[in-house]
């Protein structure tokens, strides 16, 4: 069935004026980093339910990440979180990953789980705490170096809960000072991805509350500093694809943390709450990727670091990750089916309905046959989820990773 379905799909897209070879090339180029912590138990403030088979050690996390890559072919790197993935020999960690067919992606420092950081890390009023935070950041540069990673992914839980609790501008100064020191410690090929967040765990103000603050910080630091967009870190109603286009235009879009949300930073499976939003984000990226008139924009789009960052509270972790990867591929594939010439023509004519239709029509395509074809051509399972179910991996990790055997 798949063959004829794909044949029909391809014919229809040709009639729509789509260059399928180019679409396939773009899909093959899409790589998505999975997070080591996404394979371990996570929860809400109310409860972390223990999931059978959840990874308990960094080794198990690497195994799961490798399994996801084996099935999807799209996830060659795994992001690590320090100290959650602390090890005495990071060279060995990288070698272990390589032996599993994957590599180490972005290094994520953790500055929110020690008591010292209760009132802030790089923005803490106590210089000793700021010092400790900066040292940890610099340690993460060393880890990146040791593991062959070229990116530091920086999320700060820093913020306050009450008016008056701290001085906004003082903390802004400390943030900038700390990051300048970190920036100076980067190797030339490394990049520093600065994440922002509207709120949580701070509930009055977050020191880097929106893209503007992250962007302005990056501007001050230099070209190796870029903005990281977490799709769940915005106020309700925010037009994220507009921010994406804006950052692309300024050459400062460094990467994404993908997840879905309906309310706050819900951290659900990307593409599950509002798939059209994810499609519209990718439509801005797809447009930038083909923008030969603006080579800097094109270059920025082509080197975006795509990362998943979710909290699988109630669903099995490995298949949740596979689903996430498939959802991202689905929406990117749909974005690639926009007929850009027809769209530009309608825009030039000021034809609102026609322009909207050019975008929505691409979204309404069923790209399942396309993605199956792309996967099969690459020697991958046509349906990674079915392949996972057939693999017996899920049952194996449930029995192998008995809760008794937990070692932190």
């Amino acid at each position: 069935m798949t063959d004829s379905a794909y044949a029909w799909f391809e014919r229809e897209q040709r009639e729509r004026g789509i260059d399928i070879a180019q679409v396939k090339a773009s899909l093959n180029a899409l790589k998505i980093e999975t997070p080591s912590w996404g394979y371990a138990d996570q929860g809400t403030r109310f409860q972390t339910f223990k999931k059978a088979g959840a990874a308990r050690t960094v080794t198990e996390k690497l195994e799961d990440a490798a399994m996801v890559h084996r099935l999807t072919g799209a996830c060659p790197n795994v992001a690590i979180h320090i100290p959650w993935d602390h090890t005495d020999d990071y060279g060995k960690l990288a070698a272990d990953a390589r032996s599993l067919g994957i590599g180490i992606g972005a290094v994520n420092p953790n500055l929110f789980q020690e008591d010292a950081y209760m009132l802030g890390s790089v923005t803490h009023h106590d210089p000793a705490v700021r010092r400790r935070a900066v040292e940890h950041l610099l340690e993460c540069v060393d880890i990146a170096r040791a593991t062959g990673s070229d990116a530091l992914s920086l999320w700060f839980a820093d913020g306050t809960n009450y008016p008056g609790q701290a001085d906004f501008r003082q903390r802004k100064g400390w943030m900038e000072e700390s990051l300048r020191e970190l920036y100076a410690g980067l190797d030339p090929h490394m990049r520093m991805l600065i994440e922002y967040k509207f709120f949580e765990p701070a509930f009055y103000h977050t020191d880097l509350a929106d893209w503007g603050m992250a962007y302005n910080t990056a501007l001050k630091l230099g070209p190796q500093a870029e903005v990281l967009v977490d799709t769940g870190h915005h106020p309700q109603g925010t037009n994220i694809e507009h921010i994406v286009a804006y950052l692309l235009d300024e050459g400062r879009l460094g990467g994404f943390h993908f997840n879905a949300r309906k309310y706050a930073d819900d951290d659900l499976i990307v593409g599950s709450a509002n798939p059209y939003e994810l499609f519209l984000i990718f439509s801005q990226i797809a447009l930038a990727e083909r923008d030969r008139a603006h080579p800097a924009v094109k270059r920025t789009a082509e080197r975006i670091a795509y990362m998943i960052d979710q909290s699988h509270n109630i669903e099995a972790k490995v298949p949740a990750m596979i689903r996430s990867v498939m959802n991202v591929q689905t929406q990117y594939a749909k974005a690639l089916l926009i007929n850009w010439d027809a769209l530009a023509e309608a825009q030039r004519a000021g034809d609102v309905l026609e322009a909207e239709a050019a975008v929505r029509e691409a979204f309404e395509q069923n790209v399942t046959p396309l993605l199956q074809a792309v996967r099969e051509e690459a020697g991958l399972p046509a349906d990674p989820m079915q392949a996972y179910k057939a693999s017996g991996y899920g049952a194996r990790i449930v029995s192998a990773r008995s809760p008794k055997a937990v070692t932190h």
Copy 2:
């Protein structure tokens, strides 16, 4: 200074047409339940910071609650959470409380921390889980009976994270069925306070998502079922005081969980984020308390159960509770300073500016001298926070409750 300040305040309010004796009587009648869990460590999903002196046992929680009551005179009851406050002898628990000068308030069942409840409790698709949940609810009725409590405070974490995960109407049926059984188990003097919540920990739908669902459930159950309003459980922009007035009018406003929020269910100190909102809520209550034309409304207002439900992530717990109580008193006091005749007159005249001024003017009064006078007349410290600092209690519990000695 206080004396003259109060004398001046009283003269000014008399000139504004306020019956100060009545105001004082109302303030003296205001009782606010504090939650046992508010004295123990709580946190966000990112971290629960260990606070020196946090209560570790139910006994310590009672001691802290008693201290807050001693200083404020306004908190004669402490709400308990089962199984967090589980004990083998609830009669003894009540006696212990009494010996400390307080009583047991609302009993709060917990249906969200066992693995069985991951996909729901009273709405779970498995009848065995629903059975277990109902048994726990009925157990809490027994505990209420044993402790002399007359209220069950019901919050359900039940909900789903993804479209399709469950059938809304099926779960609605199970919720109603479960609560009918619980309702049948209540003693005639008990009331059942049904809380609703917009989202969290479920991120697609919450089974009791808004006041309308809680109210409709209460309607179906009977007169002992009422709605509990948690001030942090609404969508952004919601006019909570309107909901309060609506429920008062229908005779179904059972109680409050007080806390403050700027973003989601932030659970900060009540009155700290938007004090005017708290004032406007109390202005509806104060109006209903004097509504002799609608005795049922008046009666409903007079028996509202006021409860604090907060999460003190970064602040010392006992003083945070004292501050919360003082903030509630402050806004209620301001609401009592509205000149209702002048307000009604402006409303009758359709004078928008004058009517708005009648309300805002009351809010702009400084009620510190009034509250100090009321407290002193009742033989309480004029400033409970200063009294707490002077008491040495904080230092005592820090040294007495060494983290080593933790027993769950």
Copy 3:
């Protein structure tokens, strides 16, 4: 191409276990009322741009509505707004509509454009204004009778801008009193659809602010009173499909005002901002339509009044309406492609990922071939939008309806 596309589509759906004949029957049964005011100029508070060809008279509105029905076969009725569509002979209006092949749908009273209603209509503090408002409502019952309409669609702009401006409970009483009088005036076959709105044009409180208030009012009035859900009238993040399911379960979902929004009540083309949300709403309806276990729910679902209510500020009106109808058909068609047995099976198993997939998979189908087939089988244009473009209608109304000839 369409034929083979449809053949392929049908085969694939059969393999998915879908009963295509049933799907087609449901699609054929879907009727959507268009609003007379949607064919005339509308705008924002900043500007109403004059659109060439916009309908200027009720006759022109009927012509446009008839054109939309001719092309889609799905819009046999047009809603009217009084006094915008005032005429001295409503029998003649209905006859005119019939001669164009359509009928008169819901009658919409207007209680927000006279100076008398500045501070309220049925909730105004002045009994004379309330009287006037009720008389207008009763006049609309007469108009419904005269035009053969069986529905009154009630939206009240009533609300306040400032705390204190009016007494919530007093206005609630007046609202109920006014509606009781209206309800008593209904013919037995008529229904009264009560709309709610979160905010605008009132910015402090709206007298019927949410589904709970509309529902409670309907409960008090009687079985002919039902709730009308306008998709743009909710707080951000609201799970509308949950409300829809809830009202279906209670037998009180009367109808919809369809439109799309990203921010507030944006009134854009339905399905253009978040198509998945519209699909999820229809998935609740489709489920209820087949719920033989609950005949009252099934009956409620089958008689829902679907209405479009949008504000086409910048787009051509007739094609915008055609697009709206097509978007509704698209999402309903997708909802009909859910394999309900597979979904229920996954739900029973507590398999979150599988259940979510069962819903999302239906959404990802491309239903264009299906809708084209359904239309062609009914003797309608396969693509109503193309047919409209080919018809020359747009050019004709532009030249016929010169702005000079405007008559209000």
Copy 4:
């Protein structure tokens, strides 16, 4: 009474450690621009109610603005809107204003009411429309020159309603190009205030959607370009005082459009919806004004352009403006009562509760006696609202400005 009230107030503040002379000096220095359009009829998209006495001509607007200044002493300038306030002789307009005791404040271009601008102004895809928009902007520079104004206040309604309608980055380029030409046309002493808005009248994207976009544009243009914060132009939950502090720190906070909102851009009387928010905004400004360690920040704070921009839909316009000015004064006065040394001390100690109290305590002061004293010392009415009522001005304009005599 006032005297003793003030004496008591002053004594109490001295005890709190406040330098009352400095507070009074700051209050005297606060000047707030009122908008000419705030004296004329305004409305919602549903209706513009005709208010008796509303200004119909630019002359009447100047008269009303002058009356507000006479009573408050705080509103020496009136902002104008072109072409609403178009006149053939702007020199004469300025002279007329001067003869009434006021001056011309910011010049506001209007690029949203001509049909040509339906799809954009400076971002329109048609170069001729962009040209026209830029010419209008340059005309406004001429008007500023002719009237002695030193500020252009730029709000663009530019945006789109649908995905695909236009190309974000293309429009961004056109916006920057247009503003560069405008910037080049400024006189050296003029400043250009760039306003941003989350949404409305565009409902998919706004070209300058947030402070980050406005700030980045200002950065690119040069030092005469600054950001204008309209308090109603943010997503729900936004911490506006944080943005204010951030822009102060970067030296780019140019001014404010004050108004209040609970939901969207409700444009109600400033300080009426959430007075604490306005207080917290002013607390950041007050802190910056005394920040001798950062002279650039201090300078930026001292030259902020405070402007009111509201839509008085249901209230009498002149008293609504007086109330607005008084509300601004009230919250600024409260901010000046923060004991900054105590606050800084608590922050240094990491004492969250104490720091929060230092801020809230200032808010809880009743500043009525202070403001009355400041006004009387300046030879102004102690209560401008009472003075307005006593003046008979309201009745005079109602009879003088009969609706019949309207001239647009």
